[in-house]
């Protein structure tokens, strides 16, 4: 029997897939990673890690100016001078009211209508209070904000947030800072499948493979902070997650094989050698 399945990919010269970039809120981005600016050992390591990750968008918090605090370096200025777009958050807000006021202060302080909306339900898990989150999202959208809500990995909530006018949905992989990875990949896939806005996994990433998984599931972006900032070598980890993002995205575009319950031989069974029964 003639050889039937010789690959023709080589002769066709498979075209390499290229990420043409994506649109998030008012931004045209080439990097699919959004990095946090917190918990780095130093400002210099922060800047080096951001650079190694290739990110273009960096999250910041909004906090009361402390009268005792030294002037120090102005983080916003530092990021702006380094060419990063900023994404302010409402981290630490436990009510829709606090989150809305924080968002309004962020818009005034940083001159952007982008807001990573967090409304937290409890201090131990830092999981979202989805009811208050949806309420705050609705109010902020009405007020002209581009809302990127940090939400549960729940497809119904994600859809509701999209319906009230959020420009993206950001389901968690696992609790903030936990590094537990993507605990419910099927839910993330369901959210991706039904969303018409970008889906960004926000929180839970522990290492590079978690980033790859998010993109393999079809996410448009990944937001991470602690996984890089608290790695033993933050700059090296930033480079690792960058490579993982590319790998995962490429794999998604390439299209994975279906999962099978039993084995399927990759070497054809036909023409196998059989030893004679006779001695």
């Amino acid at each position: 029997m003639a050889t039937t399945s010789k690959s023709s990919a080589q002769s066709r010269g498979a075209e390499p897939l290229r990420d043409q970039g994506w649109r998030l809120a008012d931004l045209e981005l080439t990097s699919r990673l959004i990095l946090g600016s917190s918990r780095y050992p130093s400002r210099q390591v922060l800047l080096d890690a951001l650079s190694a990750s290739g990110t273009q968008l960096v999250t910041v918090g909004i906090r009361r100016v402390s009268p005792t605090a030294e002037g120090g370096e102005n983080l916003y200025e530092l990021l702006r001078e380094s060419g990063y777009h900023v994404l302010p958050n409402t981290a630490g807000c436990f009510t829709a009211r606090d989150a809305v006021l924080t968002a309004q202060l962020a818009r005034e302080a940083l001159g952007t209508t982008r807001i990573k909306l967090e409304v937290i339900g409890d201090e131990d898990t830092l999981l979202p209070d989805v009811e208050a989150l949806t309420e705050a999202a609705r109010e902020l959208v009405r007020d002209g904000f581009q809302v990127l809500p940090y939400t549960n990995d729940d497809p119904i909530t994600a859809k509701k947030l999209e319906d009230v006018g959020c420009v993206a949905v950001m389901p968690l992989g696992a609790p903030i800072g936990s590094g537990l990875g993507i605990r419910n990949p099927h839910n993330i896939e369901l959210i991706v499948e039904r969303a018409t806005v970008p889906v960004i996994v926000d929180a839970g990433v522990g290492t590079a493979s978690d980033v790859a998984v998010a993109f393999e599931l079809g996410c448009d972006g990944v937001l991470l902070n602690t996984a890089v900032a608290r790695a033993r070598e933050p700059v090296a980890m930033a480079a690792a997650v960058r490579a993982a993002a590319r790998s995962g995205w490429l794999a998604r575009q390439a299209g994975r094989i279906p999962r099978l319950f039993y084995a399927e031989p990759s070497t054809p069974l036909e023409g196998r050698v059989r030893a004679s029964d006779k001695v």
Binding site: G36, S37, S38, R39, Y40, L46, T59, V60, G61, I62, R63, R64, V65, S66, P67, G71, N74, L75, Y76, E77, V86, P88, N89, A91, L101, T102, Q104, L105, A106, R107, E108, A109, L110, I176, G177, N225, T226
Partner: protein, 69 residues
């Protein structure tokens, strides 16, 4: 007569005739980029700082960007 206000959650006394601009300067000096102010839950835009008087009983938030995730 002095005024009693709440500034970033702490009670504080102010001299007569203080504006938001003066209050911001007293807190952050001249480096005011990236600073925002709310009085009684309403944003006071930068251009309003010089004219906006601080009133007795005002609840004032003065914030800026910090590291965050």
């Amino acid at each position: 007569m002095t005024k009693r206000i709440r500034l970033n959650g702490t009670s504080r006394e102010l001299a007569q005739g203080s504006s938001i601009a003066m209050l911001v300067r007293s807190l952050v000096g001249e480096e005011q980029e990236g600073v925002a102010v709310a009085v009684n839950g309403e944003i006071v835009t930068r251009s309003q700082w010089p004219e906006r008087e601080v009133h007795d009983g005002d609840d004032i938030e003065i914030v800026r960007a910090v590291q965050g995730g």
